[in-house]
């Protein structure tokens, strides 16, 4: 098993928390680097959306959640998956089209879900997961579960009708849901300047009567703190919150991206705001972790990812024989 026990609480709340936050971000980074490498070597089919540079938002959000809380994720979903506690081997295996992969090789990167950690799934459809998270929150409310649902989505998703309809339903029914926008400034090639005529995407909360907050999405502590407030509000029955995490993806949108719509300078500027380096800086300042401990954490993450890749490589490929039976869940007698 490549999951670590989930830790809930402020990333700077204790040494253990700091260690966990850094480990999670590092695991995401190393995972993305590893699968990029596999992809480059032609071992992964399809396309790939990497979240390198965006590791703080999944990590900070999920540290404010319990394992029973639910998330919906996106095409750029590896980070959400890992932060919520998924098993790295089954993730890699899925990308490699193996039977032991989360989707048995049927879904691939864009469709990884993990029932055990409350991950209702990545989604190949922009904004597709938002109404689903709202529905999960509705179930929580109706069944008195006390759980919260978080929908991760990108800036681009906010111009889909699905966002609008879902946000309004969440607002009028006061559902325990958090609308977590990872604003990385582009929806594929479309910049927020061209796609929106407002200054902060969180202003859209006003349209539904829900709080909207914009914050530094590369500061895992800030992400955690904002999420914690939203989670409290949700659990108290006060309804949804729209959080806008301002961040940046270092890599192209997907493998076919030639990055023509943005400058190298901009990318370099953002690399300086690396969420991992920034957090290291903070924990050093606060004397929560030593340099040696930091190095050891990264080493652990690397080892875990390497082990996951090795194990997944050895696994049996998915078998077409089962496909027809996989379409419907059997009607139980």
């Amino acid at each position: 098993m490549m999951t670590s026990a989930l830790i809930t609480g402020h990333p700077l709340g204790s040494k253990a928390n700091a260690r966990y936050a850094l480990l999670t971000m590092s695991r995401i980074r190393k995972f993305e680097e590893a699968v990029e490498d596999l992809f480059g070597r032609g071992m992964v089919h399809g396309t790939m959306h990497l979240s390198i540079g965006q590791e703080a938002s999944p990590t900070g959000v999920c540290m404010a959640l319990n394992i029973t809380d639910q998330i919906t994720s996106t095409h750029r979903g590896h980070g959400h998956c890992i932060a919520k506690g998924a098993d790295l081997t089954r993730m890699v295996a899925e990308l490699l089209g193996k039977e032991i992969g989360y989707g048995g090789g049927r879904g691939g990167s864009m469709h990884i879900a993990d029932v055990e950690t409350g991950n209702l799934g990545a989604n190949g459809i922009v904004a597709g997961g938002i109404p689903i998270a709202v529905g999960a929150a509705l179930a929580s409310q109706m069944m008195n579960k006390g759980t919260v649902a978080v929908s991760f989505f990108g800036d681009g998703a906010m111009n889909e009708g699905a966002f609008h309809e879902a946000a309004n339903l969440a607002a009028i029914w006061k559902l325990p849901v958090i609308l977590a926008c990872e604003n990385n400034k582009y929806g594929m090639s479309s910049s927020i300047e061209l796609a929106f005529a407002i200054d902060h995407l969180s202003e859209r909360g006003l349209a539904y009567g829900i709080p909207g907050v914009t914050l530094d999405g590369n500061d895992v502590s800030a992400v955690y703190e904002a999420t914690e407030v939203a989670v409290k509000r949700a659990r108290a029955g006060e309804g949804p919150t729209l959080l806008e995490f301002v961040t940046y993806r270092w890599k192209g949108h997907s493998r076919s991206d030639k990055n023509l719509y943005r400058t190298k300078e901009e990318i370099d500027e953002w690399k300086k705001k690396d969420p991992i380096l920034y957090f290291e800086h903070v924990v050093r300042e606060k004397a929560l972790l030593t340099d040696a401990e930091i190095a050891e954490i990264h080493k652990l993450a690397t080892d875990q990812v390497i082990a996951a890749v090795n194990e997944a490589m050895k696994a049996a490929p998915a078998d077409p024989a089962g496909l027809l039976d996989a379409v419907f869940k059997k009607v139980s007698a």
Partner: protein
């Protein structure tokens, strides 16, 4: 008339009520299903009986509603979504087709979507092209959805209960003209189930096998009764669910009659009942055919408004009578 000769609206309501009594996780959501009782009166008094949480009025947001139902279904509930007119499934296609239908498969089986989407379908009320379509064919071509088309109150109740039990997404297409027509058979009290994927032979006759869905079953039976007087005997088969589609009774019947007619309200071009023709053309009863297949379907036009135009747009009883009479007379 027995007091169990319900209308389809009553039968559907009864099914939902039984399901809600049986399982706390069943709830209904949709536009105007609460105090209003539903645009076609199907939910009726359920709002007063089960409260506003379980009979949940929504804003006009079909995509959001269906999406919320998908999320709730993934999280332990069993939602029944009412879409006021099936034409508005167009608004919700992403959640129906790209989400509900595929999640179980894509994620490797760990999640499933026990969701029923009920929609008022078909023409005949003068509501024109955007409120009168028969869109079942869209859903039938999407693997991962089950598609039910009840043709009577009796079928409607038993099929809806099975649809609610089903752990998969089920599209339930209700012809709006059938809502108020009392059925030909009593609707049993209590929670009987009609399994999804079993065709029903409604009457047997030696001359022609008629496969029809929804309101066309009703019309085909009327046609059969008329033709009986002329000595022409029709077998009428109602597949009841078009996904899955149970063809065995069709093959068996065609082996006896040697003639096949399909009748649908949806536009002919690319309509679902072509599947029945294709299955017969590639299936075991092909050799028994002594006549070309007859296809009766809606005209390839949007449904028009004026009554004289609207009637002309879809098959009516006399059209069925005439086509059946001809094929039996011309091919012996």
């Amino acid at each position: 008339m027995s007091d169990r000769m319900l209308t389809m609206a009553q039968a559907l309501r009864e099914a939902m009520s039984i399901a809600m009594d049986e399982r706390p996780e069943v709830f209904i959501l949709g536009e105007d299903i609460g105090i209003y009782g539903g645009a076609f009166g199907v939910t009726g008094d359920l709002y007063h009986r089960y409260g506003k949480e379980r009979v949940r009025d929504t804003p006009i947001s079909e995509l959001g509603i269906v999406g919320a139902a998908v999320g709730a279904a993934l999280s332990g509930m069993r939602p029944i979504v009412e879409i006021q007119f099936s034409d508005f499934t167009a608004q919700a296609m992403d959640q129906i087709v790209n989400q509900a239908a595929k999640i179980h498969f894509m994620v490797g089986g760990g999640l499933n979507v026990p969701l029923v989407l009920r929609a008022a379908s078909g023409s005949g009320t003068g509501a024109a092209a955007q409120h009168s379509q028969s869109l079942e064919g869209w859903f039938a071509n999407v693997p991962g959805l089950k598609v039910v088309i009840p043709s009577s109150p009796y079928e409607a109740k038993g099929l809806l209960l099975s649809a609610i039990d089903d752990p998969n997404p089920v599209i339930f297409m209700e012809h709006k003209l059938l809502y108020k027509i009392p059925g030909r058979e009593e609707v049993p009290e209590g929670g009987y189930r009609i399994p999804l994927g079993v065709s029903r032979v409604l009457r047997e006759g030696k001359d022609l096998t008629v496969v029809a869905t929804g309101i066309m079953v009703f019309k085909a039976i009327a046609a059969a009764q008329e033709l009986e007087k002329e000595g022409v005997a029709l077998t009428v088969i109602d597949p009841r669910t078009i996904s899955p589609l149970d063809m065995d009774p069709v093959y068996e019947s065609v082996e006896k009659t040697g003639r096949l007619m399909v009748v649908q309200e949806a536009p002919e071009h690319g309509g679902f009942l072509n599947e029945v023709i294709a299955k017969v053309a590639t299936g075991p009863s092909l050799g028994s055919l002594i006549a070309p297949v007859v296809r009766l379907a809606g005209m390839n036009i949007p449904i028009p408004y004026a009554p004289q135009l609207e009637k002309a747009a879809v098959p009516q009883v006399p059209d069925i009578v005439k086509a059946a009479r001809n094929v039996v007379a011309n091919w012996r």
